[in-house]
Symmetry: C2
Subunit: 216 residues, 2 copies
DNA sequence: GTCTATACAACGATAGAC
DNA sequence: GTCTATCGTTGTATAGAC
């Protein structure tokens, strides 16, 4: 019996995943992938007859990695659903910092590069977004007692994602965190405003609001 | 005296600008630009010795087009600064619709494609963002009487831009407007919340808030 | 300033031995 | 399943006539 089913394939996918994130899909050559993965080009074509099939495998792998690589550490460390969301946003900030802005959101990059030209990839990218949204939506759902009735977890999750993607784009363009931090601060103000308004809106309405400038 | 200084150059820049917006910088070939512009490749290299110099010219042209192509029609039609901002956001929505999601934000696309690999382009892209931000910041500045004291026009403008870029990304990925509209609705709620809180916070504080669900 | 022809490299993909 | 050699195309950029 074969010991562990081909880790050559895994090495290829892992290497391609990194290179697609750093340089994009188009600019990454198959020869570069083979070289960095330490395999031969022949093996690469054995597992992935076309570059697009490799791309699909990479995007499937990204989906599988959402929990272990993106969410788990934060979800384990923090119980508060709202805190989880902002720690998640902070994690993207840390990644930008650790890579000196070279590593943005891997899915967002591919979204812009490939939505138009690669319909199959587009669907897989959408699934990646959808799963991310579900996780954040779940956070808002768990915090729903603290939110006003009209607050829709789904809509809030979308707002978190758009803010993150836009903020990452600006951080990378300016190569500093001023715009990133500004966007997150506004998002935080919005969400805390929702929580605050709910806190102060018992059935006997009318209590006035707290100081409008929040500390953190 | 030369009648109009070389419109060959202008045709090249205009054509390249469109193609870079649709297919990206890398995937657009110089031969394709020459063909679509109706000029010969030789002319292209006469005006732009390298592809990167053409890219720089395109990004400079984008800067020059911000007012006439992006802002002017809206600024002429609407006086209210907050309305201008949301009409601007609606204009991106209309562009997505008119092009069936193939035409996102030209600057955002190039930002993601080129920030890492093309430092010169990155600076010009940043200048494009900065000018856009200034225009929106000015709107918030003009509306400052309606906003709370702590509201910073610059920070709000950044929030509008990040929301727009993220929303465009999701609209193109999902090929529908649900996420786009959700993000803009949240942004509107946030900004109207700021205006509302100011309205209700005269020096004699305490007046309670309006219905939290807004109609439009 | 325009045009043709071409150099030179990199790309994705294939063939076929082992 | 691995490896080498190579095909055919496309890309940017050049050379040189006009």
């Amino acid at each position: 019996m074969p010991p562990i089913q081909s880790n050559t394939r895994d090495k290829i996918v892992e290497t391609a995943m990194e290179l697609f994130a750093f340089h994009g899909y188009g600019p990454t050559g198959l020869s570069e992938i083979a070289r960095k993965a330490g395999v031969q080009q022949g093996s690469l074509y054995h597992f992935f007859p076309t570059k697009e099939e490799l791309l699909a495998a990479v995007l499937e792998r990204r989906k599988a990695l959402l929990w272990p690589d993106v969410l788990q550490a934060i979800w384990d460390r923090f119980d508060d659903p709202i805190e989880r969301i902002f720690k998640l946003l902070d994690q993207y900030r840390q990644m930008l910092q650790a890579t000196e802005f070279s590593h943005g959101c891997p899915i967002g990059n591919l979204a812009i590069e490939l939505t138009e030209s690669h319909p199959n990839a587009r669907e897989l990218i959408a699934e990646n977004f959808t799963n991310w949204l579900k996780a954040v939506e779940q956070c808002f759902h768990e915090a729903s007692r603290r939110l006003p009735e009209h607050a829709e977890p789904r809509r809030l999750a979308i707002f978190v994602l758009t803010t993150m993607e836009g903020a990452v784009m600006l951080a990378r363009t300016y190569r500093d965190f001023r715009a990133y931090d500004a966007a997150i601060a506004s998002l935080r103000e919005y969400i805390e405003g929702l929580i605050e308004s709910e806190t102060n809106w018992g059935s006997p309405r009318q209590i006035d609001r707290k100081a409008r400038t929040r500390k953190k």
